[in-house]
Each structure stands twice: as C-alpha cells, then as structure tokens.
Symmetry: C2
Subunit: 694 residues, 2 copies
C-alpha cells in the first residue's frame, strides 16, 4: 500500500521512490498497530521485514479504473461465495482507509462484466492452486485487471469449520488437511452464545478485563453471592460483581448470568469455576472500583448501582454499559463431521472436569470419554452441607469430627451416584478434599457471629479457630493430602461415600467406574500411607455391605508438586494412575501465585519476559520438563501407568499438542472445551505423523 | 540387662530363660523410650534386633562381687582419665536404675586394688584396639572381673574435640580419622554460651519449642519490638516474646537477649534472623498463649507478665521459669587445631551470610572466605530509612519513587562500605531487594495512622496502598527480581550504592569485591533484561565518578525457583555465578510454606512420612535433584560457572556433604555455623576420597 503511494508522489524519480518505499515499510513495521498486532498474535524474535519493489499500477486513472479487496469465500460464515468490495477510480488505500464507501463485488458486473468474469476465474485458479480460501487485492488500470496480492484469508471459527468441510467435500483437500485447517481454540465460537455485532457496536465500553470464560452475559449488578442468589430466585438476571470470588460465593456465581471481578487472572477461583460451567466470566478488570457495602461500582467516571445493566463479553474481556442482544449457537452438521474426523485421527483420550451430574451429562454430549477430575470440595458449600462441614472444622476431637462427617456422608454418596449415572460406565476420577479448611469458614465478623449462633457456640470460638487456621501462604499450606494425614477421618468419609455409591449403582445395574485421586502428593511414603487407609476403608465398606464381587477402584495421585514429578518413579510404585495438576505445578515451578500474578504479569508480557500467561498455555520449557520427567520416570517403574492431565491447560490447544508429544493417555478439561481438546488432539496426531515422515 | 535378670528368675530352666530373654528383648526394643530414641536419632527402616544368649555372671554374690559402667575417657570434658561408677554386691541394672548411689571408679582401689588394676589394663587394650574412647560394662563375681560389653562411647561436642586431638597427639589415630571423629554439628557447643547444668536442673520447665538458634538466654518478657528496644536501652535484659516476628521487629529482636515465638519453624523469620546473629532463639512453642496488648503470657497454668523472668535454651527448645546461670564458651587450642586440619582437607569453600559489618567481622574471625549472601532488606528498617522506604512505596509515579530512593542511597552506600572494609578484599555477594513491598508497611490501624501523619498524607491512602499490596500467597507473589522488573528504579538505586561504595573503597586502597546477585530468577530473559540494566548503571556511575580502571563486579543469580534449576543451562549464559537459595527452593519443590509447615509437619514426622524437617536438612532425593540439575546444566553451558549455596542448609553438616558431592564451589551459612561448615566440608572430602578408594 505504501509503495503505491510513494509511486504517486515522485513519479519521475525511481531512486527517491525506493528510498521512500523502504522508509515507509519500516514506518509500517514499527507502527503501534503492527507492534501490538505482533504482541497479540505472539509473533516474536523476528529480525525485520523484507521489502519487494515492483512497478506500479494505478486504480485512479479514471472511471475505467478501480481497485478492490476480496475473499474467495465468505470469511465470516464460510459460505462458498465470492465476497469483497471495490471502488471505482481509487487506489487500494482508499478502500482500506474507509474514506469512501466501497461497493460489494456482486455489483461489479454492472460496472465491468469482463473484469468480473476474469476475477471469478482467477479466484477459482487461486483456490485450486493454494487449496485454501484466499484474501486477494486487485487493481484495474484503464480496464485491465492486475492482481496485486493473494494470501490465505483470515476467517472466523464458524467459517473455518464450514470451509474445511466444504473443501473436503469438494475433494480439494483431504481429511487430515481439513483437520489442520480449523484453529481448535476457535471452536468455542460455535458452542457459546455471542453478542450480536450490530448491537454490540452501539454499546458504551466501560473497561476491559481478562477474558476468563467465553460467552456473552447481560444483567443487573449484584455485589454479594447472597444477593445474587436472592435476586436470581426472584427472577432477575444478575451479573455478580466481586473484587474476587471464593468458594463461599459458589452458589451466587451459579445463580448469576455472568461473573465480573476486579482482581485475579485466568486461573483465579472465579475463572476456573466459571469456565468449568461454561458461564461467561471476565476477571481482573483492575479499573473497577467496587464498594460492596454501598452496592456501587465506579468505572470510567460513572457510578453504577444495583439497577445498572452491564454486559460482559467473555471472549474479549469487554465490559459494557447497557443490554446487548446475543445470538445462540447452532451446532451444524459440519461440527459433527469435524468431531467425527477428530475422533478418527486422535490417539489422545479426552476427559472432562465435572463436579455435578449436569456438567457430567453435558460433557458426555460434547464427547468426553470420562471424568478426569471431580472436585469434591464444591459439594460442601450447598445448604445444610456447609453447616456440617463447619461443625467438623470446629470440632475439637476426632469423635466430634466423625459425627459431623457422618452428616456429610449421605450427601457425598448421592453426589457420586448422580455422577456415576450420568457417566454411564465411563471412568470417573474423584479427587479427595483439596482446599485448606479455612476456605470453608466465613472471614468476616458478621458471618462468623451468624455461624456461631447456628452452631450454638460462642463467636469467640469461631474467631479463634479462624485465626488458628489462618495461613501466610495457603497455597503452600495445610491442604490436599496433608489434610488426610492429620485428619484421616475426612479421607475415610469420602472413600466411604465413593464405595457406598459404587455398590449402590452396581446393585442397580449401573456401571460405576470410580478412580480415587489423592491431591498434592510430594513423597512416595505419603501416598503409600494414604493408599493403605483407602484400601482398608474399601474393604470395610465391602464387608459392611456384604458385597462379594471384586471392586475395580483404581487409586492414583495428582502430580502437581515439583517434588512429585522429580520422584515419580518411586511414587508410581504405589499409584495406578497419575494426573498432572498443571495449575499448581505451574504455580510452584515458577513460584507464581495465580491469585497474585496480575501485579507483575502485565509488565512481564509487555517487556516480553514471558511469551504468554503460563496458566493459560503450558510452559513447555520449564513446567513441561517436569511433566515429561513425571511421565518417563513413572512409566520406567510401571509401564502400564495411566497418565493424564487435569489442569486448565487440558483445554488449551498448544498444551494438548504438548501432552500428545509427552505421551500422555488423556487430557481432561472443562465440558465446553472438550470439542477443542478432541480437535487439538487430532491435529497433534496428524502433525506428529507428518513430522515423523520428514 | 534383661538377660541377667531372667537368669535369676529361672536358674533351673534354660529354655524358659531363653524364651523370657527373647520376650524381654522385644519389650525393650518396643519400649516407648526406645521408640522415641530411634525417632530422635533418625534410625529408621530396621527390621528388628538381634538377640545374643550367653552364660550369666553375678555381681550380687556378696561383698566381693560388684558391677559397674565406665568410659575410658571423660565423656563430658574429653579429659584422658578413667571415668565411671560401680556398686558393690549389685547387678548392672541397679547402677542404671539409680536406686542405690554408685561410687566413682577412683574409689575402687580401696575396695579391690587388683580388679582396678585389671580394669585399667583392659581399658588401655580396648582403646588401642578400637582406637576410640570406649563405654564399658563390667561385673565382678566373687573377686573375678568379667567384661560384659564394650562399645564406642557417646560424648559431648567438647569431649569429641578434645579426644580426637589427644588421640592424634598420642598417634593412636591419624589426622583424617581425627576429623571424622567430631560430629560437625556439635561444634556449636564450643561457640555459644550454655546453661550451667546444675542451675538448669533446678529450673521449672514451662514448655518446649523448636530449638532455632542455639545458646542460652535469660530475661524479662517484652511483648513488642518497640518495648524491647526501649527497655533494653534502659539497661534491662529482655526476652522478646511474639506469636511470630516480621521484618518490622528486627530492631527489637536485636535489642533482646533472646527470642521466643509461639508459631513458625526453623526457617521462620525469627529463626533465620536470630541464627544469623548467633542469638538464642526458640520458635513454634505452640502452648504459649500470648496477649500482646495485656502483656501477658499464659503457659503451663501460669500467667506471666512483663516482670517475669524466663530462660530459653536455644539448643533444646526448653522454656523455663526463672533465671538460670550460663557458662561462656572458651575456644581451646584444640579448636584451632581442628579448624586448621579442616582447612587442610576440605575442597569446598565456606562463606557466610552477613548483613552488617559486625556480622562480617565475626564471620571472618570464624574463618569465612567471603560473604555468600548479604540481604539488603534488613538495611531498610532502621531509623529514618524505613520512612524513606515507605515514601517510595506510597509514591504514585517513578519520579516520586526515585526521589524517595535518593534518600536511601547514601545509607545503602555506607552499609556496603562498612561491609567491604570488614571483609578486607574477600568477595561479598549482595542480593538485591527480595521481600514483597508490603513487608515494609505497617499492618495495624494505629501504626498506619502514625505513618500517615509522619508522611503527611491521609491514613486512608496508606490503608488503600496496604490493601492494594495485600497478597494471597506473598511467597509466590510480587517480590525478588519481579520488583526490579516493575520498579527498575529500585534496582538502579541499589546497584548505584554498590558501585559508589566500591569506587569509594578502591580509591582509599580498600579492596572491594562485590558480586551482584539477582533473587528469584525463573527465566533467562528475566536475568538478561535485569543484567542489562545493572551493567548500564555500573557504566553510568563509573562515568559520573570519572573512574577509569576496570571494575570487576560479577553478576549472578539465586537459583531458588524450580524453573531456574530446570533451565539452568539457558540462565548460565547470562550469569557469572549461581547461588542456590535452598530455603525457597525447598518451599516450592515441596509446596511447603515455611511459615505454615508447623500445622502438619509434626504429624509427618510422627507418622514417619518425612525423615526430617526439609528446611533443616536438605531433601537430597527431591530438592537435591534440582540442585544437581542446576549445577550440571549450568556448567554444561558455562564450565567456569561459580556455584554456591546460601540457604540455611549451608550450615547443616549433612547438606554440606551433599553440596560437596554435587560439585559446588562453596557453601554460605550464618557466622556461627562457619566452623561447622568448615569441618563438615573436610569430612565430606575425606569420606569422598575413602569411598573412591573402595
């Protein structure tokens, strides 16, 4: 574009033209837009750009001249129809600059039928040659068509699916090529509602956060989880706005149509929970000034309240004032074809992270081959359960703890029965209690007093226990299997619930395939000791229930502590499976708290000290070494060891490729990312095969 | 002992005797005392014990019979004098049980000169044969001497030094054997004051904590750092009692004669700081109920106040009521000999961790060959400095931060000049600012208000900044080199202070050898970027000061993040040295917060899930793998890379052995542990040599 311009300014001096051309290219290369484009697309480490000098053609030589840009197929829908714009008596940059309104290429025959015919023919030849949709630029100088440029065209996720499937049917490409043509991450666009672009254009932008869980949500502001529950029950659509969320907020988060937080990153509590549900969520919108007590939200010079309507776009992170209409997704036949082909080519299994029968059901529909992670802690927050949980935490001896746990047992058992039913015989990996106990206690005075009244104990006692459980670094504290070491009765109750649920299902001819997963293991001895307790409990329940047949309950561990990966050979001796918890593994390998990373991550990305947020896409050089080591060491001692991954990375295409190469058996991700993982796994297999041939 | 007893009960039935003997041995093996002894000594993994059956001799056959136990040399002082006790007409267990008061062996000639002569002869033969001090048991049956048992005798640290040196001089053993005879950790006993055993016996035990820093301290209770400073200034001897300490308490800790905390482990703030100073400290005494506001300490049913006198034993963790007299150490000529031999045999360098000229001076006297870690953060707490530091933290832009930092610069420079002078040309590794900024701000309302008044800003602003800096997991948060990435001006000020101090020293003919160490590096790019800024600042200061000669300032990094060890090959490309920060490396490799580990570590040790506190002795299987990997990968890319360790493990004998085997160039530890590290390094070298010969 610059080159053409230069030609006009100094038509008589080709050297000056060349000099200016080079200067212009550098200007373009270093423009803010180009720099930020490269940053967003993760294009790094380039030395510069090449410059081509060639003779100029002019689209502005009169009404028989013109210029245009076009896609050989529709880049938004994928429809096989020539799609573009042109301007008569104009240069290319006029089209791009948007000064004049260009005309649709469909109107070209009216202006010059001959040129249009040539263009259609060239479009066909280009597609046949490149075997892909092309983005072309052309100029007509005094009635003669010149092609300026052709390149593979960018397209929406929807278009990429349609074009790949169409070209496959047209026999232009083969199945493997079709698979590689669809950016796996873009499949989200096919699965979740999105804002109507026209309606979105009219909205007032307030700020932008981190897109944590895609989708589109519009609602009135609710400032506490309790408020969200109440107002949702009354039929309102509410958007939960918090500085950050905690497990106590889970019910409110579930009631809200979307979640918006001012702190936290992509793997903060809000992001992880919302993403698991496929609920729209934007986190870390640092410009939000939330006053929970007053019920106000200050942003962009405005003060919003409980009646303000706000819309959030979970795919872009945009926060906008007012209602925006959204479009529901339709799963096309092409989507089914893509999934069928993905399953044909992939070798990596795909499971899901699901904590409820509903999630499990949905994930099955998306093609999950089992559950790779059922978190049991979310189950303790609802209704009466949290009361029993708190009784347990406040109990002063094992007997009292066991009494409180006995109340939780039937709930847990029913949860598991529900999930086993939904999964219809597919394996279900259940992780034992992971978070520190203080997450189950209220942190503010008022709720502590309320809780004391409910449990009929002194508020002082509640406060004392909260203070006692306070930790400097809860992430590195008393949680995971460490809880089971100090309070074996919690493990016993959970295992009991799993085994009772399994026997109950098997007796009603429902095939239940539980796998018990111990979190946060760092040493072989830890797992050996807990494994013994798990096995003893299984035997005990079998005896009580008078259940004779062999129960096939696998016992395995998360590998999420660096030390576990380093000593995976020893740990494998007492584990039937490993599941890499790459969220925690990333936290500890980098020394980054995912709750606090936002204070420095933006500077790291800006200064290019990191290529990307390591919680979003697995750090293959560092954390990946530990994963590889864990797999290799584990299998060196136990070749049949089953190995998966259940961190958020399981749904990230690049990370799925890594998992394929590292030889994992499966990835597990949130239900809505299952199709993405299936496609990414197929792509990894195809690319691996192609690389091996070279 | 049991065997003899059995013989008496069934003299006619040898089978019954055998049966009872075996039963008795098992009883003894499984007694609480034996079990806890094995736990304390770290004896694990045994399958059982062997049983020897032999004919019985009797010491209770009349006044010509008797029994006794003795050491061939004094086991407390090491003096070469026969030392033991005997009882006439008694069995061995009577001596052990303490029912009758035995007589000193010196009195034996009066009873039976002949037997005494035989004993002396045998003692000499045994020592010549075993070439070590023996612990013997004997019985005289009707005038005839029987030797029941001989084994190498346990001895105090003081005795082990004296005996090794004496035996060397007696040519009974060679230098290497003498080196191996002294438990390196026991050298502490020679360096620090200890309680007079007689006086200690009379004291009332209150509770027991974790022995964090050896020594003996007696003082009146002070409940805040401020109070400790004031009362110490007024001439009182105070013991600082806190639930835990923070960097704000440093001045108070320094003023106190000893430090006692109710939470925290061996690597808590209190423990690390106290140990660095060689100040007596007991931490994690969980039974203490401290009310700082009231100024009371409840423990063991007593309520103590500001006037109560308490004594703490930093070698045992004992907390006792009342004053106990203590004994000052005397460094004997034998100690000097041991250190001379250690330096002859060791190949590993020994440096010290020191933050002040006084510490540096003391460490030099103990034989440190340089400083491996100077923490710069402690320097920011004294007097006016903390005010400037807080101004910096509260500043809203770089210019204001630089203005506040300019006030700190002269203090920092003078600190470094002082340390360079004390170290007289030995290398001084200076670590750039490491802790998160919120550690420098007061956390309670009252002090925040006070601070606001001092800085002439609103209390609200202070509170807002404190809230903004709050982190969920500060250990994994915005600290170390991450501060330098977001606030480069802090790094610039510190480097400027180092370079200015260096030039000032060199111009006054004081050889200054600073090494700049960047903390918490996780990626090569981080270090490359910061290195560029450090080098630019060095060049700038040189130009300003018009200093022409080459300045030899090495730039290196801590390896304390697992990812740094995993990618040490890349990082080595931009580092001249590595120093393993094994405290943090242990935290992240295990996922254990050293501040919170006390909630589960006791159960882990009791259930034998861990052999020892990994913050006390390096976990060689897990963390050690990363250290080894870091050394090997680092040197693979840069063979001349200098590698050390500066975590608390640098002064732990077992860890020193590991560092020797891993090929490190030096260990760095607190001044009082320097002699221990020197001896341990020699032992590691000798043992390595002996193992290689086999």
């Amino acid at each position: 574009m610059y080159q053409k311009h230069v030609g006009e300014v100094f038509p008589q001096n080709p050297f000056k033209q060349l000099e200016l051309a080079i200067e212009a290219v550098f200007k373009s290369w270093n423009s803010d837009k180009a720099v930020s484009y490269r940053r967003i697309e993760g294009i790094r480490g380039l030395n510069g750009t090449a410059v081509n000098v060639q003779s100029m053609v002019y689209g502005n030589m009169g009404d028989d001249s013109g210029t245009g840009v076009a896609f050989t197929r529709n880049n938004a829908t994928g429809e096989n129809a020539f799609y573009g714009e042109f301007l008569v008596n104009a240069q290319g940059e006029d089209v791009v600059a948007g000064i004049r309104t260009p005309r649709h290429v469909d109107e070209m025959p009216k202006w010059n039928k001959d040129v249009y015919g040539q263009l259609l023919k060239i479009k066909g030849r280009l597609e046949k040659h490149y075997k892909d949709m092309q983005d072309i630029e052309f100029t007509i100088e005094r009635g003669k068509l010149y092609m300026l440029q052709t390149r593979t065209g960018k397209r929406s996720g929807i278009a990429s699916v349609r074009i790949a499937c169409d070209m496959l049917r047209e026999k232009l490409i083969d199945e493997k090529t079709a698979m590689l043509r669809i950016p796996a991450g873009d499949l989200t666009q096919l699965l979740l509602p999105s804002f109507d672009p026209a309606s979105k254009k009219k909205a007032t932008a307030l700020t932008r956060g981190i897109p944590a869980s895609p989708g589109a949500a519009t609602g009135k502001l609710a400032f506490t989880a309790h408020e969200a529950v109440e107002r949702a029950r009354a039929g309102e659509k509410v958007l939960l706005v918090r500085s950050e969320t905690s497990p106590e907020d889970v019910e409110g988060m579930h009631s809200a149509v979307g979640i918006l937080t001012s702190t936290g990153g992509r793997t903060s509590h809000a992001a992880v929970v919302a993403c698991g549900w496929g609920k729209c969520c934007v986190v870390g919108a640092g410009e939000l000034n939330i006053d929970e007590k007053k019920g106000t939200l200050k942003v962009a010079g405005q003060t919003l309240g409980r009646d303000s309507v706000v819309s959030i776009d979970g795919s872009t992170g945009e926060v906008m004032l007012g209602a925006i209409s959204s479009i529901e997704p339709k799963l096309s036949g092409d989507f089914t074809l893509v999934m069928k082909l993905a399953d044909k080519y992939r070798t990596l299994g795909v499971r899901t992270n699901a904590d409820t029968p509903e999630d499990a059901q949905r994930a099955r529909e998306f093609g999950a081959e089992g559950i790779g992670l059922t978190r049991t802690e979310h189950m303790f927050f609802e209704g009466d359960r949290i009361k029993a949980m708190r009784e347990m935490i406040l109990a002063e001896n094992r007997a009292d703890r066991e009494k409180a746990l006995a109340k939780l047992l039937p709930y847990q058992r029913d949860d598991f029965v529900g999930i086993f039913k939904a999964m219809k015989g597919l394996p279900v990996t259940i992780r034992l209690l992971d978070p520190p106990l203080h997450e189950f206690l209220p942190q503010d005075d008022a709720t502590q007093t309320e809780m004391a009244q409910m449990l009929k104990i002194s508020a002082e006692k509640v406060r004392r226990r909260v203070a006692q459980l306070h930790e400097m670094n809860p992430m590195l504290g008393h949680r995971g299997c460490r809880l089971a070491v100090t309070y074996p009765e919690i493990l016993v109750m959970q295992v009991r619930a799993i085994v009772e649920a399994t026997i109950e299902c098997l007796r009603s001819n429902i095939k239940a395939m539980p796998e018990i997963m111990v979190p946060l293991i760092g040493t072989k001895r830890e797992l050996a000791a807990l494994r013994a307790e798990i096995e003893a409990t299984i035997a005990e329940v079998k005896a009580e229930q008078d259940y004779k047949p062999r129960l096939d309950i696998k016992i395995g561990t998360m590998i999420e502590i660096p030390r576990a990966a380093l000593t995976a050979d020893e740990i494998a001796e007492v584990a039937e499976f490993f599941s890499f918890g790459t969220n925690d593994l990333t936290q500890m390998t980098f020394g980054y708290s995912r709750d606090d990373i936002n204070t420095f991550l933006p500077d790291y990305l800006k200064r290019e000290l990191l290529d990307h947020d390591p919680f979003q896409s697995l750090d293959q050089d560092g954390v990946g070494q530990l994963v590889k080591m864990g797999v290799d060491k584990g299998r060196s001692r136990k070749p049949e060891l089953k190995v998966g991954i259940c961190g958020e990375h399981g749904g990230d295409p690049k990370s799925v490729h890594f998992c394929h190469r590292a030889g994992l058996d499966y990835v597990s991700c949130s239900p809505f990312r299952v199709p993405i993982a299936r496609l990414a796994a197929a792509q990894a297999a195809i690319m691996g095969e192609q690389a091996a041939k070279k």
